[in-house]
Symmetry: C3
Subunit: 168 residues, 3 copies
C-alpha cells in the first residue's frame, strides 16, 4: 500500500471501531453483527463480567469465539430479560498496519453500565485499554480479536452479586 492507501485503511478501521461501540450502546444488533470477522476471538469480559460462566474458558478469562458467539454473548448480557444501559467511549487510537490486510489497534476506553435489580439501580464504571486486531476480508476491514485490560473499576456494592444471579 502507498501512503494514501494506508491512511484510508486507518480511517476505515477507526470508523469500524466506532460502529461497533455505537451498535452496542444503541443495541443495534444488526449493525453489531457486521463488525467482526467470522473467526473473531473476544477476551474482553474481564472485571465487570467475571460471573458469566457461559463466557469463561479454562483459564478463567471469559472468551467468545466466532462472530455469532460474540453477538449472542453481548446481546444476552445487555439486552436480555434485564436491559442494561451502557456507554462505551474510546479514545486516542494507535492503529498499526501489519500487512495489506491486517492491522492492530490500541484504544483507551471507559465504560459505564446501569441496571436495576429489584428496583435498586446498580452501576459499574471502568477504565482501561482495548487491544484489537483487524483483518480485511472481501474488501472490508473487520475486527478479528479484542482483549480488554483494566486500569480501574468502580461498582456499586451489589453489582457482582447481581451478575452472579443471572442465567448463564
Amino acid at each position: 500500500m502507498d501512503a494514501t492507501e494506508k491512511l484510508v485503511a486507518i480511517e476505515e478501521i477507526k470508523a469500524l471501531f466506532a460502529r461497533r461501540v455505537r451498535a452496542m450502546d444503541q443495541k443495534d444488533w444488526a449493525l453489531y453483527d457486521t463488525c467482526h470477522a467470522p473467526h473473531a476471538v473476544l477476551k474482553s469480559f474481564s472485571g465487570a463480567q467475571t460471573g458469566l460462566a457461559a463466557l469463561a474458558d479454562d483459564g478463567g478469562v471469559p472468551t467468545a469465539t466466532g462472530k455469532a458467539a460474540i453477538l449472542a454473548a453481548i446481546r444476552a448480557l445487555l439486552d436480555g430479560e434485564t436491559k442494561v444501559t451502557t456507554v462505551h467511549h474510546a479514545h486516542t487510537p494507535e492503529i498499526t498496519l501489519t500487512s495489506d490486510t491486517t492491522a492492530t489497534g490500541i484504544w483507551a476506553m471507559e465504560d459505564l453500565l446501569w441496571w436495576c435489580d429489584d428496583g435498586v439501580e446498580q452501576r459499574f464504571q471502568g477504565w482501561g485499554h482495548y487491544y484489537e486486531t483487524y483483518e480485511k476480508i472481501d474488501g472490508a476491514w473487520l475486527i478479528a480479536s479484542r482483549t480488554l485490560t483494566r486500569l480501574r473499576t468502580v461498582e456499586t456494592p451489589d453489582f457482582f452479586r447481581y451478575l452472579a444471579k443471572r442465567p448463564a
Copy 2:
C-alpha cells in the same frame, strides 16, 4: 474527489467539530460563530434543556435555525446572567462524505454542566450521540445541522426546577 481529497475533508470536518465544542466550553463565542453554516439547524437541546421555551418548536423539541439564533441560544444558556461551566467531550467519529461538498457525521458524546442556584451547586451529566451534517461553502466545511440523541442523563434533583426559572 480522489482518496487524498476525501481524507483531507474528513480531517477538516473533525477539526471543525473540535473547534465548536472547544469554543462552547471555553465560551469563545467569536470562534463558535465561525462553525455553523448560515442556514444551520440545531435540534440538540433534548433532555437537559427541556424547560427552554425560547428554543421549543411546535413538536416540543427545542430547535434553533440559523447560525445567529444558534449562537444566541447557546450563549444565553451558558454565559448569561448565570455562568454555566460545561465540558463536552466527543468520540469515535463516523464521517461519511455524501458529495464533494456535503457530509454526515456521528459522534459519541458526554456532557457535564455545573452551575449555582442560590448557593447550591446543580450538576447535569449526559451521554449520547450527535448526528450532524456538514456543508462546504466557499472552501470551508461548516456544520449544517445537529441532532442529539441520549443514552442516559443524570442530574441533581433541582436541576430542571432551576432551568424552568430562567428567563426565556
Copy 3:
C-alpha cells in the same frame, strides 16, 4: 509537504500523543521516555499538583524542562513510594502543521487520579485542554511543549493536603 504527507504527519502526531498518555496511565516509563523532544518544556501541573515545590518555577506555575526532567517529575508523582492510579483521556484533536517539521495541537482532556493516604482513598477529577507543540527530529515527531488549561476540577477534601505532605 503535499496533502498526503501532511495527513501522514497529523496521524503520526495523534499516535504520538496516544502513546504518551497510555505510557503514563500504564506506567510504561520506557515508552514514556520516547515521546518528548530533548528540550521539551512542560507546564501542565496546574490545579492538581500545585503543592509540588520541585516542579514550581518562579511564576508559581510548575514547570519541567528537558525530557529527563519531565520523565523524572511524572514518574515521582505517580509511581514513587505511593502508587497513583491514573486515567488520562483526550479528545477531538486540532493538529496544525506550522512547517514541515513543526506543529501545534489542542486536545480536550479529562484526568482521574486515585491514591490512598493512610488507608483513605483520595480522588481527583479534572477537565481541560492540552496545548502542545511538536517537532520532527531525525524523522520522528516528538512533543516539544505542553500546557494544560482547566475548565473544572473536583477532588476529595484531603487531596491537596496529602499532596503537600509528599516529598519534593
